[in-house]
Amino acid sequence: MSTTLEVRNLRTHFFTRAGVVKAVDGVSFTVGRGQVLGLVGESGSGKTVTGFSIIGLVDPPGRVVEGEILFHGRNLATASEEELRHLRGNRIAMIFQDPMMTLNPVLRVDTQMIETVLAHEKVSREEARQRSRDALGMVGIPSPDERLKSYPHQFSGGMRQRVAIAIALLHRPELIIADEPTTALDVTIQGQILAEVQKLAATTGTSLIWITHDLSVVAGLADEIAVMYAGRVVEGGEVGAVLDAPFHPYTVGLIGSVPSRNRRGEPLRQIPGMTPSLLKLPAGCAFRSRCPRADEACLAMPDLLELRPGRRARCFHPHLEGAGA
């Protein structure tokens, strides 16, 4: 399996007036060709920033301070803006969370699609329009010809998200970063989009980073999973393995608190405490204060270690009991 993207020890910090926010602080993962990586974690754990770091769209006061982002072996962290611009939307595409906000409300859909084609390829407008129409058809939008002439607000949320996906697909990218693209949608619409995406991934061989906080979505969609907590990947591995037998206490808690994993009517298993502020993160394991297993050892920062083949976790006291060796 060839690697499309390898992220090594990525650190992206925001230098705010209140202090340095270490939004991403040592994230590593790899995405293979045609693979889907589920990047999960709670709000503020740095998922989005990771995504933006990859395509080089971290805005000041944020900056990638360390790490390598190897896209087909090329380090994007040190690439020039011009280089990145040619990759963006072309070989790496991104889909945002809020479908209502991602399309420019005052520009027609065709404008927004055609410009994307023209930004990377020298083709005639007519051809670009053709391509756009095909892309719309591909994501299941009926009568794409008419729809091209519409403004975004004439679409429902689900359709807008599909337009965004269509835009992402225009250049058949090798990697799509999808940042919670279904969170704002209704279940049935989410179902439609997930089905769409699955079909695409299967047919085009595109790699996918699917950012979400919803474990259930990842369970159904992803091959690999990376769980983030407070700017770090705390656990990673094959989806089934991780969800069935998580190593890291946080992952354990997270899976445990999913209602369907609990008996009806009984209290849910819960993680006490709350997500820490990234601004004044104490040294050592960030999960320490909420962790039932924490002890003095946790005052130091554990490394992300491959505890089992294909299973990485960042913990001194991993739940190895449940997992077969």
């Binding site: 709670e42 709000s43 699955q198 089934g240 609990n262 709350m274 997500t275």
Partner: protein, 334 residues
């Protein structure tokens, strides 16, 4: 916990709520130019009847814009219905006189979705929590502090924070403040409108547990509005499914998850990703959710329904009891 009493604590009878949307300037120009426009009416809630018994948790599920919140507001007494009656312990609340009506309204409280917008940013926690009890004489100036502290403790908040402002709390804590505020007026019935939707998964569990704990401690009754089926499944005794302002199915929780009757419910359950299902192929319900502004005729679901018949587009199906306590509004049943 199951209900013992026969008169429901709260009964919504034939509730409808319309929002009339006046045309704006551009709309009028368009109409003048011949566009087929009219003053738009949204039937946010359309002839809904639900009874909630004491101690029961009723889950209300449906997709965005189907009128869940509107129904919740009506139940909580914030919004009057356009048609229909709200019966509190069997009496029409509009028929109650001043103090009794206030009493009835206080007994029904609401917890909101957005933990940020639902707290007045300019008030301290103690005032947010204690204001209403003080106004309604449930506590005195002297007992104020103790009263507030008790409510906060009950909601799982450190009373030491009572002089803080909402912005100094995290989302989960804010939701607890909202809960403390509602509890402070000693309600019997609580409408939770997507009360955990904005929270992180790990925090969500904490709040859900709190709800369950309070329910048993205070013998509370809930109308639990959510679009998250797994949450509803976990919590509710009975589930009501809404689609575009109408109730399409209503049944005890186990029953509905085991034997969903209405095609909409079925597709809904199929669309929900489940953590147990790995690398599954997602299925789709075809089509978009129609706009409540001009809902499809007949059964609102018929354009998306895999079993749609000609009749479905003409006739509104009535809720029918398909199994004991299990009601469904679908022509397939007749």
């Amino acid at each position: 916990m199951s209900a013992t009493n026969d008169t429901p604590l709260l009964e919504l009878r034939g509730i409808s709520r319309r929002f009339e949307k006046k045309l704006d300037f551009a709309g009028k120009i368009a109409r003048f130019l011949g566009a087929p426009l009219r003053e738009e009416v949204v039937h946010a809630v359309d002839d809904v009847t639900i009874g909630i018994r004491k101690g029961e948790v009723v889950g209300l599920v449906g997709e965005s814009g189907c009128g869940k919140s509107t129904l919740g507001r009506i139940a909580a007494g914030i919004m009057p219905p356009s048609n229909g009656q709200v019966l509190w312990r069997g009496t029409d609340v509009t028929k109650l006189d001043g103090p009794a009506s206030r009493e009835a309204r206080l007994r029904a409280q609401m917890i909101f979705q957005d933990p940020y917008a639902s707290l007045n940013p300019r008030m301290r926690v103690e005032d947010i929590v204690g204001e209403a009890p003080l106004v309604h004489g449930m506590t005195t100036r002297a007992g104020f502090s103790a009263y507030v502290e008790e409510q906060m403790r009950r909601a799982g908040l450190d009373p030491a924070f009572k002089r803080r402002y909402p912005h100094q709390f995290s989302g989960g804590q804010r939701q607890r403040i909202g809960i403390a505020r509602a509890l402070a007026v000693k309600p019997e019935f609580i409408v939770c409108d997507e009360a955990v939707a904005a929270l992180d998964v790990s925090i969500q569990a904490q709040i859900l547990n709190l709800f369950m704990k309070l329910r048993s401690e205070l013998d509370l009754t809930y109308l639990f509005i959510s679009h998250d089926l797994s949450v509803v499944e976990h919590l509710s005794d009975r589930v009501v499914i809404m689609y575009l302002g109408r109730v399409v199915e209503q049944a005890p929780a186990e029953e509905i998850f085991a034997r969903a009757n209405h095609p909409y419910t079925v597709s809904l359950l199929n669309s929900v990703p489940r953590i147990e299902a790995r690398k599954r192929a997602f299925t789709t319900v075809k089509g978009e959710i129609p706009s409540p502004l001009n809902p499809p005729t007949g059964c609102h679901f018929h354009p998306r329904c895999p079993h749609a018949m000609p009749r479905c587009s003409q006739e509104v199906p009535k809720l029918k009891e398909v199994a004991p306590g299990h009601f469904s509004a679908c022509h397939l049943n007749s």
